[in-house]
């Protein structure tokens, strides 16, 4: 611990490494607090964390489960990160991904006669467009009225989930007790990488989107404009950037990426749209983006970590009998500690102080 922090102070200038170490320290502190909670709830800490680790990385099946949980978090984390680049906090990933999933399922079922690859691409496009439209609404409200996107996106989450449920029940429901569409055709399903794991090439699509967004921010004028508005809206406008348009566009882009979360779950995992299918991917995406410092590649690393926590958390619940909600606590703590760099600086200062007094 002390050597990590010692290293951390030495490389202060190299900001990426410093940020990485800050994030690692935050994760370690969060896991230590998690261990304390496990201990006080009367469980074996070693057994719990062994199962957490084994469940995430222990064998190829478990590793596939980690990657399966990572895929949606890459999309939702990236969606939040895109918003942050322009100073917008998109908490609406949940509603956006429901629209994405719904549009994808409807298109895949309606155009089932199309050849496989075209059908899949069309369904993905439908999901991205639906999510993008839903995301652009809070963007428009923010740009034109100043309504804070944190509140409007949360309200639009409730409305989006209710609206897709309404459309499903009234127009697309398969007969039976469960509120779900019928299965999408075989040709529209993404193929598995490892049999029986449900891990599909959606993970490669996610990484591709990361590369595209990374390129957008580093090499295009649009990416530059988005970041300029995020840093200082007035200055950006003074420089001739239409801030209103950029805000709406950023939220649409963010919503489109969130929409792909739902699309890939429908095409790769569920093979249909079901009400209440998301365990909160949109919200976990916030933690992923914060931990990944709102950078595309950072999001990938953070999504892997959270995917591992989710997959490992399941096995911890199964074999060590510790409710997997403990991982939600760890996620909340990670956000708090990462959001507070001054905390880790103070910690490193006091530890260095202890070093000197020895």
């Amino acid at each position: 611990m002390r050597s990590i922090i010692g290293l951390l102070t030495k490389v202060k200038n190299r900001s990426t490494i410093t940020e990485l170490l800050y994030s690692l320290t935050a994760i370690v502190i969060a896991l230590i607090i998690g261990a304390i909670l496990i201990y006080f709830s009367g469980h074996d800490v070693w057994k719990a964390y062994y199962n957490l680790f084994y469940g995430a990385f222990g064998n190829s099946y478990n590793l596939a489960q980690t990657l399966l949980k990572t895929t949606p978090l890459i999309f939702t984390g990236l969606a939040v990160a895109i918003g942050f680049q322009s100073g917008l906090f998109n908490i609406g990933g949940e509603g956006q991904l429901y629209w994405g999933a719904f549009a994808t399922a409807v298109v895949a079922i309606t155009f089932s006669h199309l050849p496989g690859l075209i059908l899949i691409l069309l369904s993905l496009l439908a999901g991205a467009v639906a999510g993008g439209i839903w995301g652009s609404i809070p963007g428009y409200l923010k740009a034109r009225t100043g309504a804070h996107e944190v509140i409007t996106t949360i309200m639009l989450n409730y409305i989006g989930i209710l609206a897709t449920t309404f459309l499903l029940k009234n127009y697309f429901k398969e007969a039976g007790p469960v509120d779900q569409t019928r299965m999408i055709p075989e040709s529209a399903r993404m193929s598995e990488l490892i049999p029986y794991t449900r891990l599909t090439w959606a993970i490669f699509l996610a990484v591709t989107v990361i590369i595209i967004i990374d390129y957008l921010f580093k090499n295009t004028s649009l990416g530059y404009d988005i970041q300029a508005v995020g840093k200082n809206r007035d200055a950006a406008e003074y420089a001739g950037i239409r801030a209103d348009g950029i805000i709406i566009l950023t939220m649409a882009l963010s919503g489109a990426v969130a929409g792909l979360t739902g699309s890939t779950i429908v095409l790769g995992v569920l093979h249909r749209f079901i009400t209440n299918f998301s365990p909160g991917y949109g919200f976990t995406g916030i933690a992923v983006a914060v931990l990944g410092r709102n950078k595309p590649w950072g999001v990938l690393l953070a999504a892997l970590l959270f995917g591992a926590l989710e997959a490992g958390g399941m096995s911890m619940q199964l074999f060590a009998k510790i409710p997997s909600d403990l991982m939600t606590i760890v996620q909340g703590l990670v956000i708090l500690f990462v959001a507070a760099p001054a905390f880790i600086q103070l910690l490193s200062k006091s530890l260095r102080g202890a070093d000197q007094s020895e």
Partner: protein, 314 residues
């Protein structure tokens, strides 16, 4: 059509709205104090949730709902203190830290529920607060139905909202709070303890939200369930903005939301030819419309969301 109008304008719907406004108005007032001192408080949601949990926990172990209320106040205050520590001392981004706090509160209450009661859905039933009758109010015809017999926390909410308004706008402490959020430099020059004022305001917002949570769990349901706050903290924040960062305005805006919610529930019970999903959307839609309409004309405290270091070091 008559049926719809009757349910919208009935005394029973109004009475339901008064009950439902209690947690939102309390948290909205918490938001007013926190934001008037310069700290954006997205964490209201987690504070309500934690208060609701602590209320049931206290009543479960002592069989006394009032002890539960006390524990809820304490838990809300502790959460407020943690939030204050991160946003003021550790200079965390207010919005990000608030979201982190909400995730932490959701995880912690759901986890503790399983550790203590072995169930992820809801807690066992506990002793809740008994409703009380107020002699004078009870004797006035219409008022009787609205305010004659209610949970003691409903009456307490009215008293607190009025005292909160008084504290914020009519006392020297209130002036200091508002000055801290508007002009921290000027406040600092005048010798106001900025961080002290901010800690006080944020912890107070936690205590008030905790009380709102206790009303949710002990006021009429008498149990705790997972994610019981269900977005009320965010509604409270919207109400606070719509109410111009004023406890009275926040109450009025909260009432608008809770009234729509009450109407929504009544309409669902009527078996109209409208899908329940569409009716359920009403309060959320209204929040957006009100917010979009209100913020154009409202101005937040000048230094809201900024970090200020007394003495000009920061």
């Amino acid at each position: 059509m008559n049926e719809i109008l009757e349910s919208i304008f009935s005394i029973n719907t109004l009475a339901a709205a008064i009950r439902m406004v209690t947690p939102i108005a309390l948290a909205a007032m918490g938001g007013a104090f926190s934001e008037r001192s310069g700290i954006i408080n997205i964490g209201l949601e987690g504070m309500i949730l934690t208060g609701a949990f602590a209320g049931v926990l206290g009543s479960y172990y002592t069989a006394s709902p009032w002890f539960g209320v006390l524990l809820a106040l304490l838990a809300g205050g502790i959460l407020g203190a943690i939030f204050a520590l991160f946003t003021i001392k550790f200079k965390a981004d207010h919005v990000v830290a608030g979201v982190g706090l909400n995730i932490l509160a959701l995880g912690a209450t759901t986890w503790l529920m399983q550790v203590i009661w072995g169930s992820r859905g809801s807690s066992p039933n506990v002793n809740g607060l008994e409703e009380i009758s107020i002699p004078i109010l009870r004797d006035i015809p219409v008022i009787d139905k609205l305010l004659g017999t209610q949970s003691p926390l409903v009456y307490l909410m009215f008293i607190l909202v009025i005292s909160g308004w008084f504290l914020l706008f009519k006392t020297p402490l209130g002036l200091r709070i508002r000055m801290t959020g508007e002009h921290p430099e000027a406040a600092d020059t005048l010798g106001i303890n900025i961080k002290g004022v901010q800690y006080f305001s944020v912890i107070l917002s936690g205590v008030l939200s905790g009380l709102g949570g206790a009303y949710l769990s002990l006021g009429h349901l008498n149990w705790f369930s997972m994610n019981m706050s269900a977005g009320r903290g965010y509604m409270a924040l919207a109400a606070n903005i719509f109410g111009q960062w004023n406890p009275l305005g926040g109450f009025a805006a909260s009432f608008l939301f809770s009234y729509t919610d009450a109407v929504q529930m009544r309409l669902q019970g009527l078996n109209l030819n409208i899908a329940n999903e569409l009716i359920q959307m009403l309060p959320y839609l209204l929040t957006i419309i009100v917010l979009a309409g209100a913020v154009v004309r409202s101005r937040p405290p000048e230094a809201l969301g900024k970090h200020y270091e007394p003495g000009g070091e920061g």
